[in-house]
Amino acid sequence: MKLKSIILAATMATAATGVTAEGVKVGMITTLSGGGAGLGIDVRDGFMLAVAQSGRDDIEVVIEDDQRKPDVAVQLSDKMIQSEKVDILTGIIWSNLAMAVVPGAVAQGKIYLSPNAGPSALAGQACHQNYFNVAWQNDNLHEAAGAYANDAGHTNSFILAPNYPAGKDALTGFKRFFEGDLAGEIYTKLGQTDYAAEIAQIRASGADSVFFFLPGGMGISFLKQYADSGVDLPVVGPAFSFDQGILQAVGDAALGVKNTSQWSKDIDNATNKAFVESFQDEYGRLPSLYASQGFDTANLMISAMEKADISDQEAFRAALKEADFSSTRGDFAFAANNHPVQDIYVREVIKEGDVYTNKIIGVALEDRSNAFLDACKM
C-alpha cells in the first residue's frame, strides 16, 4: 500500500508541474506471479525502497508482471517503449527473458539496467553501451564456487545443473576455476522436482564433494532429498538455492552448506546495515540477495540522475558507468563491458534464533570481473 501511494505521489507530482523532461520514467518488467514470483517481488521491493528513500519526486516507475514468459516480456517492453515512453527499462529476473527483451530495447535507444539476469551473450558479443548489469555475469557465482572447492581441498566433485543455457553457463563457470577431477556431470530436466536418480548416482560415483546449481523450488527439493539420502558429502552451490526466501522452506537440511554470493546481510558497511534494517521495517522480512540487487540498481540510477539529465543520454551513460553510489556490497565498479567488478564471498547457512540465514566465512574471489571482456566490442 505504501509503495502504491509513493508511486502515485511521484506520478501526480510530475503531472502537476507538467514537467516531464527532467524526471525519469522507469519501466520495470519482472516476475510477480507463478513459481518464480518470490525473486521478482524481492527485486521490486528493494528497488522501490531505494526510490522512496531518495525522497525524489521525479522518478516514475511503471511495474508489470512478465509471468516468467518471454513472449509476455516482449509485449510488455514494446508497450513500455511505445506507449508509456519510458527512459529506462529494468527488472527482468530470468536469462531467457532478458535475451528476448534486452537486445531490442537497447537497439531502440533505451537504457537497460539488469538487476539479476546476466547471460554470457550480453556480456560478450551482444554487449551494448546502453546495457548495464548491476548484479553479476551469470558465470560469476559458479566460478567462485569452483575457486572455493579448491580452497576447501575438494579434488573429485560431482556436478549437476538443469539442461538450459544458464545451467550450462553454471557448469562451465565452475569448471573454469575448479582444478580437481569430475566424478560425474549431469544435466537434469528444467523444473525437475525428484532427484532420487541423481542422488543414487552421486552415491555410486565415489565423489568427495557435490556442486549443484538448481535455482528456486528445484534446489529445495534437491537439498531435502539429499539430506535424507544418507549421502554425507560436502555440498557447494551458488547463493540462488540459499537465498532468504528459500532457506525457511529447506530448514535443517541446508544447515552448514557453503554457498557463494556477491552479497550477504552481514557485509560490514553502513549502507548495507541501513538497507537490511529499513527493508525489515518496511516489509517485515529479511532481504534476499535479489532485494539487494534491486536496491543497488535503483541507487545506481539515482546517482546518475544527480549528475546528468536523462535527455543527454551520453552524459547519463557516462554517469552510470562511474557507478558513483554506495553499494550494499561495499566496493563496486563496472568493467569495460558494463558488468560488475566485485568481491564474491563464501557463506555458510546458519540458524539465528528461529530463522535460517547466511553468514560470511571468507572471500572466494576478489575483484572478480568476467570472462567475456575480450569478446565485447563496444
Binding site: 543414487a200 523450488g217 525457511q248 530448514g251
Partner: protein
C-alpha cells in the same frame, strides 16, 4: 555401473510411479465416469500440500498433516464439483477445459494471497527420517520406502472398492451407461460428487506426501498434472488398472531413462555430447513411450474399445 545402483534406481522409479498413480487414479475416474476433463486436478494436489504444511506448522504432527491434506482436498473437490463442474457435464470438452483452466488460475493466485509467494516448509517426521539397509546392502531412504508401501496399499484399497463394493459397482455402471443407472434409481449426482471428492482426496494426499520431500509452492501441481495425463492416456482412459500399470511404466521409464540413456550414449559419442543428448532424450522418453503405446493400442493399454 553396479547392480546395486540399478536396483536403487528401480526402487526410485517404483516410488515415482506409485505417486503418479495417486494423481492419475482420480483423473482417470473423473474422466471415465463423468466424461469430464479436469485440468484443476493439479490445483488439488497443491491444496493438499499447502494444507499439510499449514497443519504441520500448527500442530507439529505429521499424521494430522496428512489427514488435513485428505480432508481439505476432498472438501475443495466437493466445492468445485457442486459450484462449477456440475454445470459442465453436458457441455463440450472445450468448455470444461476453459472452466477448469480458470480454476487453476483462481486457486494459484488464491493460494498466493493466503500463503504468500515464498515456498512453505514441510518436513518428514523423525520416525521416517534417514535410511534403511535393504537386503544385499542397498541403502535406501526410509521415507521413500514408506511412500511405496502406502501407495501400494492405497492402490489395493481402490481395486477392492471398485471390484467388490456397491459404490464400486455403481462407478463401473456409471462408466458404461450413465443414463441407464440414473433410470435404475441411483442418485447419479451424488455419485459424481463422491467420485470427484475421492479423486481430489487422492491428489491432495499425493501432494502432501511428495511436498514433504520436494518444495511446497504455488504452481507445484501443473508439471505433475501433465505426467498424470500421460499416464491415463497410456493406461487407457477410465481404467484404474490401466492407470496403475501406466503410472509404474512412466515412473520407471522416466527414472531409468534419466540414468541409463546418458550412459548408453557414452558408448557411442564423446562424454560431453553423450551427456547433453542423453539428458535431452531422457526428458522426451515418456512421451516417446506414450506415442509408441498409442500407435499399437490407440485406446491405451487397458482402454475399452
Amino acid at each position: 555401473m553396479s547392480l546395486i545402483l540399478l536396483v536403487e534406481q528401480t526402487l526410485n522409479g517404483l516410488q515415482f510411479g506409485v505417486m503418479l498413480f495417486l494423481m492419475a487414479a482420480g483423473l482417470t475416474l473423473v474422466f471415465g465416469v463423468m466424461g469430464l476433463i479436469n485440468l484443476a486436478h493439479g490445483s488439488l494436489y497443491m491444496i493438499g500440500a499447502f494444507a499439510a504444511a499449514a497443519m504441520a506448522q500448527a500442530s507439529g504432527s505429521f499424521l494430522l498433516a496428512l489427514a488435513a491434506s485428505l480432508v481439505c482436498a476432498a472438501f475443495a473437490g466437493v466445492l468445485i464439483e457442486v459450484l462449477v463442474i456440475r454445470r459442465l457435464y453436458d457441455r463440450d470438452h472445450l468448455d470444461q477445459v476453459l472452466a477448469t483452466f480458470a480454476l487453476i488460475l483462481i486457486f494459484s493466485e488464491g493460494t498466493r494471497w493466503l500463503f504468500g509467494s515464498f515456498p512453505l516448509f514441510l518436513d518428514k517426521p523423525e520416525w521416517l527420517s534417514g535410511t534403511v539397509i535393504l537386503p544385499f546392502g542397498i541403502e535406501y531412504s526410509l521415507y521413500r520406502l514408506a511412500i511405496i508401501l502406502v501407495g501400494l496399499a492405497v492402490a489395493a484399497g481402490l481395486f477392492w472398492m471398485i471390484a467388490r463394493t456397491r459404490v464400486g459397482i455403481r462407478i463401473r455402471a456409471g462408466e458404461n451407461d450413465r443414463e441407464m443407472i440414473a433410470a435404475l434409481g441411483v442418485n447419479i449426482s451424488r455419485l459424481y460428487t463422491f467420485v470427484f471428492a475421492l479423486g481430489a482426496a487422492l491428489a491432495g494426499f499425493a501432494g502432501a506426501l511428495v511436498g514433504t520431500i520436494q518444495s511446497v509452492q504455488v504452481g507445484m501441481g501443473e508439471p505433475v498434472l501433465i505426467l498424470a495425463f500421460v499416464v491415463i492416456v497410456i493406461g487407457g482412459i477410465g481404467s484404474i488398472k490401466g492407470a496403475f500399470i501406466g503410472a509404474l511404466l512412466v515412473g520407471l521409464t522416466e527414472t531409468l531413462g534419466r540414468f541409463l540413456l546418458p550412459e548408453a550414449f557414452a558408448l557411442v559419442f564423446d562424454p560431453a555430447t553423450a551427456r547433453s543428448v542423453g539428458a535431452s532424450l531422457a526428458s522426451m522418453s515418456i512421451y516417446i513411450l506414450m506415442a509408441g503405446v498409442l500407435i499399437f493400442r490407440p485406446k491405451g493399454l487397458f482402454g475399452s474399445a
